[in-house]
Structures are given as structure tokens and as C-alpha cells.
């Protein structure tokens, strides 16, 4: 079970997000573990997030993580705290962090699933072939991300952003497949995926 969210951690992350505190940008010359300490303020210890709408990073595929870090650096994906955090990253930094993230343990899913709703979500995942690109266990592969065990609120937010074309993927795949999927179905897919190991 994920540990409870500590108010202190949430405040520290909020500070980063709002830019209220000096941002301790990772300095070069330190180990990646040391530099990653800034990331876990929001993304959680071991990359398992305990903060709403902040994604877990553990077990993410390295090629996907690399593309996202690259997009944050180039402002192809917009989230100011992330755009700031990686703006001075070299290509090697991007690779180091994405490789590191991929080696962290995958997030532990909550065990509170309602069987009926899980079945609905699973049927939708199969109907819309989410499991085709994201792999049968939703663990992702290559440039397609792991969604198993990801935070439900982050998944739903992301799916809605893709569908509304607010978030552009590196390629067109997600906007492409989400067109016919209703908001309730997105919620059910997020519910199911977030509860997969």
C-alpha cells in the first residue's frame, strides 16, 4: 500500500510548483541519486507519487521518459515547474534521468478496486485496444508509457488533455485514438489502469 501523503511533502511540492521557494535545480557533478532528490519532492520517494495529478515515475519506460524530458526542455510539453527544472539539462542529463527512472520500482497500485467497475474498465481497455500499444499488462514498451499503477487522477487528467488536444503527444497516436471515447469511458479506463500492478 502506498504510504500516506505527508502535509510537509505536499507543501514542499506546492512551493516548487508555485515557484515560491528557490528551486534547487540539480547540479551537475553529483550522483543521479542525489540529483533525483529534487524530483521526489513532488514525484515521491522511489518515484511513487502521493500528490494529486503528479505522476509516478517508477518503472516508466526509458524511451518514453526521455521523450517527455526532451519535450519539457524544449517546451513542447508545457508545465512550468518541469520546464524550469530541466531547462539546462544536457542531452546526457536527459538520458541519465530517463534511464534512472526506468530502473525504479513500478508504483504499487491501490487495492481498493470495485470489481464491477474494474470489469467495465478492463472491457474498455480491450475494446479500444489500449493493451495493444501499452502492452497486455499495461506496463508500456519502448516509447509507449507504462500506465499500470499510475495515479488515477493523473491518468484521467492526461486522457482528457489528449482528447481536447490541450496536450500534444510527441506523435499523433493518442489524439487519434481518443476521438470516439466518452468522458465516462476515460474515467473507467483510468480507474482500471491505475489499479493494475
Amino acid at each position: 500500500m502506498p504510504s500516506r501523503l505527508s502535509p510537509r511533502r505536499a507543501l514542499a511540492c506546492l512551493g516548487l510548483v508555485l515557484g515560491l521557494v528557490a528551486q534547487p535545480l540539480p547540479t551537475r557533478g553529483q550522483t543521479v541519486e542525489k540529483r533525483f532528490e529534487t524530483c521526489i519532492v513532488c514525484h515521491g520517494p522511489n518515484g511513487q507519487s502521493q500528490i494529486p495529478e503528479i505522476p509516478s515515475l517508477g518503472g516508466q519506460t526509458a524511451p518514453y521518459a526521455l521523450i517527455q524530458l526532451f519535450m519539457f526542455r524544449g517546451k513542447l510539453r508545457h508545465f512550468e515547474p518541469m520546464n524550469e527544472a530541466v531547462k539546462d539539462f544536457t542531452d546526457d542529463d536527459l538520458r541519465t534521468f530517463s534511464d534512472y527512472i526506468a530502473k525504479l520500482p513500478p508504483p504499487q497500485p491501490p487495492q481498493d478496486g470495485d470489481p464491477t467497475r474494474l470489469a467495465v474498465g478492463r472491457a474498455l481497455v480491450q475494446k479500444f485496444r489500449c493493451d495493444f500499444c501499452h502492452a497486455g499488462n499495461l506496463a508500456g514498451r519502448d516509447n509507449v508509457p507504462r500506465i499500470a499503477g499510475q495515479r488515477e487522477d493523473f491518468l484521467l487528467k492526461t486522457l482528457r488533455e489528449y482528447k481536447a488536444n490541450v496536450r500534444s503527444g510527441y506523435d499523433a497516436s493518442m489524439a487519434d485514438v481518443l476521438v470516439p471515447i466518452s468522458d465516462q469511458e476515460l474515467a473507467d479506463i483510468a480507474y482500471y489502469s491505475s489499479r493494475q500492478p
Binding site: L66, F128, G136, D171
Partner: protein
């Protein structure tokens, strides 16, 4: 089914996912119209196939696969510029600047020569899928996913270019096949396509067409219809007819349909058959019922199944041997919807006197090694000295192909 899944999920999450998989395979549910996986069979081999995303970071100059790429005797291939992210369409300015577009990233780059050294400059950024670019009388035209814009006198303002001015907005916003090819015709109008927003579907009214519009963005009209997606157009140097490569549908078979080489002979009237007829000789298993292929304009050549025939140019230079003059060089990006990859080369297409395809010969090869990509060619550009540039969006690089004495001019 529902009960089984629910109980299973409750008790043992892991075992559930595994145990449920074969059940899913047995009961294929219909996909919504236009879904990219329509037609994909429920077999293990088919499930291995997915589009290949290029790495976002360009390959370092010393790691480019030049040693693996093969060219015919007498030709030489070298690096023209490394570090051009997601290098796509190539265009040449009057003053010698090479412009390079991107599909997945947001920038247009210029490669300029300064004191004998090549430099890369960003001339536009913050763009959305800016795949299509064209140069005409000093103006750079940019086709993004849903709009066309321009920067005048671009080669005079390379160090401090203004933001592009939009001349045509509100094109369809479909991401699928939304990226565009842009060219200026002999009539000094812009030509571009709005692709089919799907692998195979009945396209909406505005899609699956080639349009032309004035350089001021006025007078938009349909030039041709029934096309799926185009990533290469050029004008025959003598007949001034529009030739274009067209990518055919996926998931029908490993071996059909082939991508097409098309030619517009009846502007405004030609319909190339999508989604009813493929490669000019067989009807679609879903949309083709009740239709005949002879209702449509046939391709003038077939370019291989799933090979992703992209950028093309008529060779109008003087450097290569005489038998290449007036013929077509075309980049085949290479397949993803095929177990054994095909394409991944630049081909020479020779034409018959009537302008249809006589032969297709792989010319620059080796982008596929052991069924994996080491690079993927996208576009070709004939330079003033007759050499030819080739873009590679997988490595983020531009190569230069030269022949004979022209080889000395390169570096």
C-alpha cells in the same frame, strides 16, 4: 465474462491480467470507425507491429550510420549536417540556404554557409507539426497541421526572423495524417493536402484531398481527391504536371496494397480512389463493395507495400550521369506494418516517354540492418551543383550525395 473478470481482479490482480488475455483474443470487439487498428488481426505476429518512433535527440555526427549506407559506384555519400532534430522536408533558398522542417518537433531550421563553415539556425519555433515547407521568390511558406503561414525575405532575416504571418487558417485539426506536404506550382499557387484522418475510413468532406490556394491565402479550391496521405510532391520539369507519392492503407496484408506514384492530369477532377480502391486494381474489403477501380484515376507506378514512399524530386541537375536527368529520386521511409521491413532507401524511378513509371531501382540503401532501422530517409533536394541532399528524421541528419568531379566540392 464480467463476473469472472471481477472476481479475478479482486483476488489476484496479476494472475487476472494474464488469465484474461486469451479470452480477449477470442472475442474481438468492433472498433469505432476510423480507429487506427481497424483491420489488425488478433494474431501474435500482427501484434508485434507498431509505428516506429524516432529518438527525440539527434545522433552525434560521429555515430551516423554512413559506413552502413551503400551508394552506386562513382557516387559518394557524406554528412552535410548533423544535429538537425527530426529532419523532414528539405527546401533550397535562392541564396543557397537549406531549410529543414520537422514533423514531431516545433521548429524550422536553416543550414547556412558562413566562412566555409555550415551553421544551423532556428528560423521559426513554437509550430505544430510543421512538416510542409516551400520557398518561392524569397518567401518561406510553412504548412502546420491546420494552418499555413509565411516569412518574407527569409534569407535576409535569418539572424532575427519575425514570427510567421498566417495566410490560411482553420484547416482540419485531425492529428492522424494531419501533417502536410507543401509545394508551389508553376501557376505560383500553393499546393497541399489534407490527409485521411485514419488508416481506413470514409473521410469527412474536407479530408483526403489536394488543395491549391493563392500565395495570399485566397481562392482555396480542390485540386484532386480520393487520396489517403501524401508526403511528397513535385512538378514534372517539362509537362508541369503534379506528381505525388501516396501512402496506402495498413493491416490488409503484408504484401498489399503497395504505395503509389500518382500524376494529376485532370486538375479538379482526378479522384485517386481512397477509400474505395487500392493501388488502382483492387477494391477495399469494406468500403469497396459496389465500386469498381476503373471509376478512379490509376497510379502511374507502384512503390512497394507499406514502404512509406515520402519525399520526391525530379533530377534537374547536371552532376549525375545523363540517364538520371528528368527522372525521379524518391525517399522510402520504410515500413512498420510489415514483419520483414521494406523500403528504407532512396530509389531512382525512371519514366517512360508518356510520363508513367518504367522502373524503380534502390539507389541509396542500407537504412535497414537486420530488420531494424539505423536511419530513415524522408526527403531529397537537388542542389545547384547537381548534388543531392537526403534528410533522415531518425538520426536528425542531412546527407549529401555527389557524383564524379562533384565529389570534390563536398567535404
Amino acid at each position: 465474462m464480467r463476473n469472472f473478470a471481477g472476481a479475478c481482479a479482486l483476488v489476484l490482480g496479476v494472475a487476472c491480467t494474464i488469465a484474461a488475455a486469451p479470452v480477449a483474443a477470442q472475442q474481438a470487439q468492433p472498433l469505432p470507425p476510423g480507429h487506427p487498428l481497424i483491420g489488425q488481426p488478433e494474431t501474435a505476429e500482427a501484434k508485434k507491429l507498431a509505428p516506429v518512433a524516432p529518438p527525440p535527440i539527434p545522433t552525434a555526427a560521429d555515430k551516423l550510420p554512413l559506413d552502413k549506407l551503400k551508394v552506386p559506384a562513382g557516387y559518394k555519400l557524406e554528412t552535410f549536417m548533423a544535429g538537425v532534430p527530426n529532419a523532414r522536408t528539405l527546401r533550397l533558398g535562392d541564396k543557397g540556404t537549406v531549410f529543414v522542417s520537422s514533423r514531431l518537433q516545433d521548429k524550422i531550421h536553416a543550414i547556412v554557409e558562413k566562412n566555409g563553415k555550415r551553421e544551423l539556425k532556428v528560423v521559426a519555433s513554437g509550430l505544430h507539426r510543421p512538416n510542409g515547407i516551400a520557398l518561392h521568390k524569397g518567401t518561406l511558406y510553412i504548412a502546420e497541421l491546420s494552418q499555413i503561414s509565411k516569412i518574407e525575405k527569409i534569407e535576409d532575416v535569418l539572424d532575427n526572423p519575425p514570427k510567421p504571418t498566417v495566410i490560411l487558417a482553420d484547416l482540419p485539426k485531425d492529428e492522424a495524417h494531419g501533417w502536410k506536404t507543401l509545394t508551389v506550382g508553376p501557376d505560383e499557387k500553393l499546393y497541399f493536402q489534407v490527409g485521411a484522418p485514419c488508416n481506413i475510413c470514409m473521410p469527412p468532406e474536407r479530408n483526403a484531398k489536394i488543395y491549391r490556394v493563392g500565395l495570399d491565402g485566397k481562392g482555396l479550391e480542390v485540386y484532386a481527391s480520393g487520396i489517403r496521405q501524401i508526403v511528397g510532391m513535385d512538378w514534372h520539369p517539362v509537362t508541369k504536371q503534379l506528381y505525388f507519392s501516396e501512402n496506402s492503407r495498413d493491416w490488409l496484408s503484408e504484401d498489399i496494397p503497395e504505395d503509389k506514384l500518382n500524376r494529376v492530369t485532370q486538375p479538379g477532377k482526378d479522384n485517386f480512389g481512397f477509400p474505395y480502391c487500392h493501388q488502382g486494381n483492387f477494391t477495399d474489403p469494406e468500403f469497396g463493395w459496389g465500386r469498381k477501380c476503373n471509376e478512379f484515376t490509376k497510379p502511374i507506378g507502384l512503390l512497394g507495400p507499406h514502404t512509406a514512399a515520402l519525399g520526391m524530386r525530379f533530377y534537374t541537375g547536371n552532376q549525375f550521369p545523363a540517364d538520371t536527368r528528368g527522372q525521379i529520386f524518391l525517399a522510402r521511409h520504410g515500413s512498420w506494418n510489415r514483419s520483414v521491413k521494406l523500403g528504407g532507401d532512396v530509389v531512382l524511378i525512371k519514366l517512360k516517354p508518356d510520363g508513367t513509371m518504367a522502373s524503380l531501382t534502390p539507389f541509396v540503401t542500407g537504412f535497414i540492418q537486420n530488420n531494424n532501422y539505423v536511419g530513415r530517409p524522408v526527403d531529397v533536394l537537388i542542389m545547384k551543383d547537381g548534388s543531392m541532399l537526403i534528410s533522415d528524421d531518425f538520426n536528425g541528419a542531412v546527407y549529401r550525395l555527389s557524383y564524379g568531379a562533384g565529389r570534390v566540392a563536398g567535404r
